[in-house]
């Protein structure tokens, strides 16, 4: 069996403060440490990360025998067609594609785009020598597409991604706007599958039944502008405009401040392929309340409260209970810290390296 000598990653966009981007960079470093050559190839890269990447078309001239191509799949890209035409062994790392049904009422064009991305995935799976997924939830999709034995390997989340200390100016700003009410936090792009409108509903119930001064803080880019606008209008309609804060493009230190100034992390996403912010909340010692959708139950493990029925009323009651019971909040924070160990970077790095080392680079490598 011929072992790979180089593992090169292909990712449509390499962006700062982006889960797939951070994973790709961390994995590149781990692969190099393991003795392989490893480069990142992109369709587009942010200015700050441009030196870290090459345009994917350039790979054709740089290809070497023993190369394995690892495609980070989270969206559609012309890169998929390029990879389909390459003779090197292909490895898919599937981070999940949001189903079109979430976008249809908001942005039909985006719905068509994700459908096209899924079609690309369907074409890539039979060609792949190895399929990996962040979660069993995502792996099940790969099985449905014909992959018999997908490997489940978590996202590589390096502690360096978190700022050691919160930005003091941001802390002061957040405290100035707070009147001691409960602060709910959610981090994730404003998108229909993240269901931020459900968080607004939960806030409404929380203020009605538990804490009339409660606030909701949302962090994330408005990737679906029509949805983001609707969430804010909805909050306004419910008289919550002043109680909902939205932050985007935060630096790691600013993000640390948002975590530090929150009482509970609340996730009511309807669809998640992994949900890195759950790990962030655990890292910052914040109690987590989430609903059982997508990969959330397996990522959360026992590291938080999982509200079975997922209804805002129940989530609000759970939040009220956590805020009223410091012992419970402490136990949840400890549970999160313990859960985080299952995603230890050294463990995840090793899992990736072992799987990639097993990819056969000889003739007839395509599955």
């Amino acid at each position: 069996m011929v072992r790979p000598t180089g593992v090169h990653q292909f990712v449509p966009a390499l962006l700062p403060r982006d889960a797939t981007g951070a994973h790709t960079l961390a994995l590149r470093d781990a692969l190099r440490e393991a003795g392989w050559t490893s480069e990142i190839y992109v369709e587009a890269a942010h200015d700050d990360l441009r030196p870290e990447a090459h345009y994917f078309e350039e790979y054709a001239e740089r290809a070497q025998p023993g190369d394995v191509l690892l495609y980070q799949v989270a969206t559609g890209s012309p890169m998929a067609d390029f990879l389909l035409g390459r003779p090197e062994p292909l490895v898919l790392s599937y981070h999940n594609i949001t189903p079109a049904s979430f976008y249809e009422p908001w942005e039909p064009a985006t719905a068509a785009k994700v459908d096209a991305a899924r079609a690309q995935l369907a074409a890539l799976v039979p060609r792949a020598a190895l399929c990996m997924a962040d979660s069993s939830f995502s792996a099940a999709e790969l099985v449905a597409l014909g992959c018999r034995t997908p490997a489940v390997v978590p996202v590589l989340v390096e502690p360096a991604r978190f700022a050691p200390d919160p930005d003091p100016a941001e802390v002061a700003r957040l405290r100035a706007g707070r009147d001691t009410g409960t602060v709910m936090l959610f981090v994730g792009r404003l998108s229909p599958n993240k269901a931020q409108h459900r968080l607004v509903e939960t806030l409404w119930w929380l203020r009605r039944t538990e804490d009339p001064r409660a606030r909701l803080r949302l962090v994330g880019s408005a990737i679906t502008p029509t949805y983001a606008e609707a969430v804010l209008r909805f909050a306004d309609e419910l008289g919550l405009a002043e109680a909902v804060e939205w932050g985007e493009d935060l630096t790691p230190a600013q993000l640390a401040a948002w975590y530090a100034e929150a009482d509970v992390f609340v996730c009511q996403s309807e669809h998640e392929g992994f949900c890195i912010p759950l790990l962030e909340a655990m890292h910052f010692g914040l109690p987590v309340v989430a609903i059982a959708r997508g990969a959330v139950p397996e990522t959360l493990g026992g590291g938080g409260l999982l509200v079975g029925d997922g209804r805002p009323v129940s989530v609000a009651t759970a939040i009220g209970r956590i805020v009223a019971d410091p012992d419970l909040a402490r136990v949840l924070a400890e549970a999160g810290t313990d859960r985080l160990r299952a995603f230890s970077p050294s463990l995840v790095r090793q899992q990736h390296i072992e799987l990639l080392a097993g990819v056969h680079c000889g003739p007839g490598t395509a599955a």
């Binding site: 609707a230 909805f234 999982l306 009323v313 012992d327 136990v331 549970a335």
Partner: protein, 400 residues
């Protein structure tokens, strides 16, 4: 708020068990081991022991929370309807939530906004040289980009203009269709119906006797025909546009619901019914709705399924409904022969057409009276001229 009693401090105490030399398989994170003097290995199950106790504690917390929610719901603090209203309120903000031409106009505004392409590419950059470089590139290629953009914008506006024309045309058509709508009938007008006690009930029951599958009785009124069919062993259910008309049937525990036959058949699966009884408001359906009804029945009836149709005859209808309803009704009854023609064109074979017997209204002379035969013959002739058919039933079966 209720609070579960628990000993949180116990969660902090690590439990220690003695194990043979070999570490337990699957020892998870947080499991520490130390080798003692006797060669045994002490396994300090910090995380696993805590995890089990913690999981039990958190499960109890969730059970408490569920119980709290249930208690509040029961007390009326958390009305279920309010949750639904919040969901519905949010959906109103979806761009696809608008209906009819409002929706078209909203999407048209999106197309208009998207038809403009800004040639002034942003040049801001965090690096000092970046902004200058971007500005340089922008001005250097503006002639090229401008040429392309001009064509794209021209195309965009052409498409937008076309959509405007289409929307205006649709709005005009909507207005015209609305204008064709029938005026509202006087409030409370309904074909009061007790079909189970009518002259044709026996014929309907006989036609539907022994059918296997669900039988719909449309415009079932008081449910008397549904009840009779159920009594005969038929799996019958009823439908009526008037909730008020159903009160008696509901009180008797019959399977009846509010709704119109066209709406209901629209959601029934193909070949899903073994029998259909049409009555009541079918007599004043608009011509296009009548054709739609026949199409739906032909599709929803299983092969071998039975249709029983009862309607007023055109000649007697005006008298039965009164002048206002007769003038304002959206449609007029048709003759039994017309229904038969429509049904047979959809592979429904007509088995029976039966008219109600005209009531004798003029008195005859006793036969033993002088001249009775002549007078009664004259009375018969007059009555035949004056009488009109009241109503009829048509029974048909789906052949294929």
């Amino acid at each position: 708020m209720s609070t579960a009693s628990h000993d949180a401090s116990s969660l902090d105490e690590p439990s220690t068990v003695s194990q043979p030399e070999q570490a337990p398989p699957g020892a998870g994170p947080g499991t520490g081991t130390t080798v003692g003097e006797d060669g045994t290995r002490s396994v300090t199950v910090v995380a696993d022991g805590d995890a089990a106790a913690r999981a039990a504690y958190l499960a109890q917390v969730m059970a408490d929370i569920d119980a709290e929610v249930a208690r509040r719901r029961a007390s009326g603090d958390l009305p279920a309807g309010l949750e639904r209203q919040l969901d519905e309120l949010f959906l109103e903000f979806s761009p696809m939530s608008a209906r009819g031409t409002d929706r078209l106009r909203e999407q048209l505004a999106v197309v208009d906004a998207g038809a403009f392409v800004d040639i002034a590419v942003p040049v801001a950059s965090r690096k000092a040289v970046g902004s200058a470089l971007k500005r340089l590139i922008r001005s250097a290629i503006s002639w090229y980009v401008g040429f392309i953009v001009h064509q794209i914008v021209k195309f965009g506006w052409s498409v937008s203009r076309l959509f405007h024309l289409v929307v205006e045309e649709v709005e005009d058509l909507s207005d015209r269709v609305d204008a064709l709508g029938a005026p509202d009938l006087p409030e409370g007008v309904h074909v009061a119906s007790a079909p189970g006690t009518s002259w044709w009930a026996d014929d309907a029951a006989a036609a539907l006797s022994g059918v296997v599958g669900r039988v719909l009785v449309a415009d079932c009124g008081d449910g008397s025909l549904v009840g009779r069919l159920v009594h005969d062993g038929v799996d019958a259910y009823g439908l009526d546009p008037s909730e008020h008309a159903l009160e008696e049937a509901l009180a008797e525990g019959l399977d009846v619901r509010e709704g119109t036959v066209l709406e209901h058949l629209g959601v029934v699966g193909g070949e899903g019914l073994a029998g259909v009884v049409l009555d009541g408001s079918i007599q004043w359906l608009r011509p296009n709705d009548r054709l739609r009804l026949v199409d739906l029945v032909a599709d929803r009836l299983a092969v071998g399924g039975v249709l029983v149709l009862h309607s007023a005859a055109p000649e007697g209808w005006e008298r039965s409904v009164g002048p206002v309803v007769a003038d304002l009704a959206p449609g007029r009854p048709v003759h039994a022969e017309t229904w038969a023609h429509l049904l047979e064109s959809r592979d429904l074979v007509v088995q029976t057409v039966k008219h109600s017997a005209p009531a004798a209204v003029l008195e005859r002379l006793p036969a033993d009276q002088p001249g009775a035969a002549v007078v009664n013959a004259a009375v018969d002739a007059v009555e035949a001229l004056a009488s009109v058919a009241g109503d009829y039933i048509v029974v048909a079966v789906r052949q294929s």
